[in-house]
């Protein structure tokens, strides 16, 4: 499956999952769909038949509230049956709103509390280098997540130890749960912050698959961060750039409208 097809499939799953589960964060899931699609279609060295193979690349979904998108991409790439996605958010299911690894093949790490993914990713990368392993660690963060101090603790650590086998991606959609990032706790100058912390920075259009593909290659001498400019709710016109769709699930009418915009 091409990354474009995968991104569309993920968006369609996410819309159905948030509609049927009455679950939130549809906007956050749609904004990172292209990043996930490129990683899972082309970049990550992983094997759905052997989700625990020792030399796999590690991917941590640090913005765990977009769990629906991760579950969707895992199901579409063969880690489990796509029919299970209908269980998202349901009583008795394993597919919780925020990413949880228990019972779900392919989920590397459970998240949901922000600011946890990058420290863990730094640990994976540090140990991989120590053991002379060539696998890479990728961590996807939200932009609002970068309010967390622990993100910057680990940013310092990764740069200090020159963890070139670590790639961070920030889904920089500019909106957090109540307002824009700049109104909430200004991230700008965001790229300069990462540079001053010792990271190699790529600023890209986070919906342009060619740009994503090129940017996620690891840094040469320092850890790499990909600041991916995205649109919250990307792909559904009435959800795009609306804070409302951080928490609101689409009702049946809205789902029909949204699905017509994200054609298979």
């Amino acid at each position: 499956m091409t990354s474009d097809d995968l991104a569309r499939a993920v968006r369609r799953h996410v819309l159905r999952m948030t509609n049927s589960g009455r679950s939130s964060h549809v906007g956050s899931a749609l904004s990172c769909a292209d990043l996930l699609a490129v990683l899972y279609a082309e970049i990550l060295d992983i094997d759905p038949a052997h989700p625990d193979k020792p030399d796999r690349d590690r991917f941590i979904m640090s913005k765990g509230h977009a769990g629906a998108a991760l579950y969707a991409v895992l199901a579409e790439t063969g880690f489990f049956d796509t029919r299970l996605l209908a269980q998202h958010y349901r009583n008795g299911s394993f597919l919780s709103g925020h990413v949880s690894h228990v019972g779900i093949p392919g989920v590397e790490f459970s998240t949901g509390s922000l600011g946890h993914g990058l420290p863990v990713g730094a640990g994976l990368a540090w140990q991989a280098r120590r053991m002379r392993k060539t696998w890479l660690t990728y961590v996807l963060l939200g932009d609002g997540e970068c309010d967390e101090g622990s993100v910057w603790e680990s940013a310092m650590f990764a740069a200090h130890h020159r963890l070139t086998n670590l790639v961070a991606l920030v889904d920089w959609n500019g909106l957090q749960s109540m307002a824009t990032t700049e109104e909430t706790l200004a991230l700008e100058p965001f790229a300069d912050k990462w540079r001053s912390f010792g990271w190699e920075v790529d600023e890209i259009d986070g919906h342009d698959h060619a740009q994503i593909r090129k940017a996620v290659q690891p840094g040469q001498e320092r850890p790499k961060v990909v600041l991916a400019r995205t649109v919250k709710g990307k792909g559904v016109s009435f959800m795009e750039n609306q804070v409302l769709w951080h928490y609101r699930p689409p009702d049946d009418l809205e789902l029909a409208g949204a699905m017509s915009e994200v054609a298979p």
């Binding site: 459970s110 949901g112 509390s113 946890h116 420290p119 730094a122 640990g123 540090w126 622990s150």
Partner: protein, 315 residues
């Protein structure tokens, strides 16, 4: 206790390159040998405990056995969620080590008093909790941790505590140790207050009460057999700990006794659930908060007297 921990850790690290030590910028002068002999197994995460603990989880999930290390509350409360979500939920092979349990760093002030750690660590599912009573117990616990790994929390005292056990001891995880037997009541102790508990037993003997002593280097798993047995054997169980009266050994024992149809009466000797702003060294603060041998003895005798009075009223 601290010195023994580092001796044992060094031995284990030299034998197993899979053991990694991550410090939160603590251990000046005491980690040098480890750093020199096992450089690839040592990393200073800086004054950043959240990253230290998440990092440790990552290192562990990539195959290592990791010890994190810092003072008092820094490796526990400062990064509690990393312990809960990253370490415990993922069964990551991480052993969180805190030096300076209880009032070890007394005069440094309230920020450095680790007096709720056992309660909080004990509440986290899947996390073993150890608080050895002296260097020998530290070695016994370390042997288990090195062999079987984490997730676990290890509360150490400081350097230079009195040695209680004359000979090395061997211990299964969760096992407690009887130090004195054959008496009328029993003192349960956890952590480095053990020596004071023994001295309290001596004072109690002078007052005509023969007190046995049992040390609990493990709070989780807890030696339920020993507690159950004691509840039948003795009319009174006393718990002694350098920890808040909320949630530590006393609470753990109370929880068990409360669910038994007939059991011993319980006397919990612990720190009151109040912050101490009093300045003083560990010995001074123990005395000020009723944890020196004389105060423990006084409290036990007084409560036994009260209990006898209550019992006669019931009759």
């Amino acid at each position: 206790m601290r010195s023994r921990f580092f001796d044992d850790l060094l031995g284990a690290a030299e034998a197993d390159p899979n053991i990694v030590f991550v410090t939160g910028d603590i251990g000046f002068g005491v980690v040098d040998e480890l750093q020199r002999k096992c450089p690839g197994q040592f990393v200073n995460a800086g004054v950043a405990e959240q990253n230290m603990t998440g990092l440790a989880a990552g290192i562990a999930l990539a195959g290592a056995r990791v010890f994190t290390y810092s003072i008092a509350n820094f490796p526990t409360l400062r990064c509690l969620e990393q312990i809960r979500n990253d370490v415990a939920y993922h069964h990551a092979d991480v052993i969180v080590v805190a030096v300076g349990g209880g009032l070890s760093y007394g005069a440094l002030g309230m920020s450095h008093h680790a007096t709720e750690d056992l309660a909080i660590m004990r509440a986290i599912p899947g996390l073993a909790v150890a608080a050895p009573g002296d260097a020998a117990e530290t070695s016994a616990v370390m042997a288990d941790l090195v062999a079987n790994g984490g997730p676990a929390y290890l509360r150490l005292g400081k350097a230079g505590e009195p040695i209680v056990h004359r000979a090395p001891i061997q211990l299964c995880r969760g096992e407690s140790i009887a130090l004195r037997t054959g008496g009328d009541i029993v003192l349960f102790s956890t952590g480095a207050i053990l020596e004071s508990a023994l001295r309290a037993a001596d004072l109690l003997a002078q007052a005509g009460v023969r007190a046995d002593v049992r040390s609990f280097p493990w709070l989780d798993p807890l030696d339920l057999v020993a507690i159950n047995d004691a509840a039948h054997r003795y009319p009174t169980i006393v718990t002694v700990e350098e920890h808040s009266v909320i949630g530590g050994l006393g609470s753990a024992v109370a929880e068990i006794l409360a669910e038994m149809p007939h059991s011993a009466s319980l006397i919990r000797v612990a720190l009151p659930p109040r912050f101490s702003s009093l300045v003083g060294d560990q010995e001074y603060l123990r005395g000020a908060h009723g944890l020196d041998p004389a105060s423990i003895t006084h409290r036990v005798l007084e409560q036994m007297e009260v209990n006898r009075g209550l019992a006669s009223q019931v009759r």
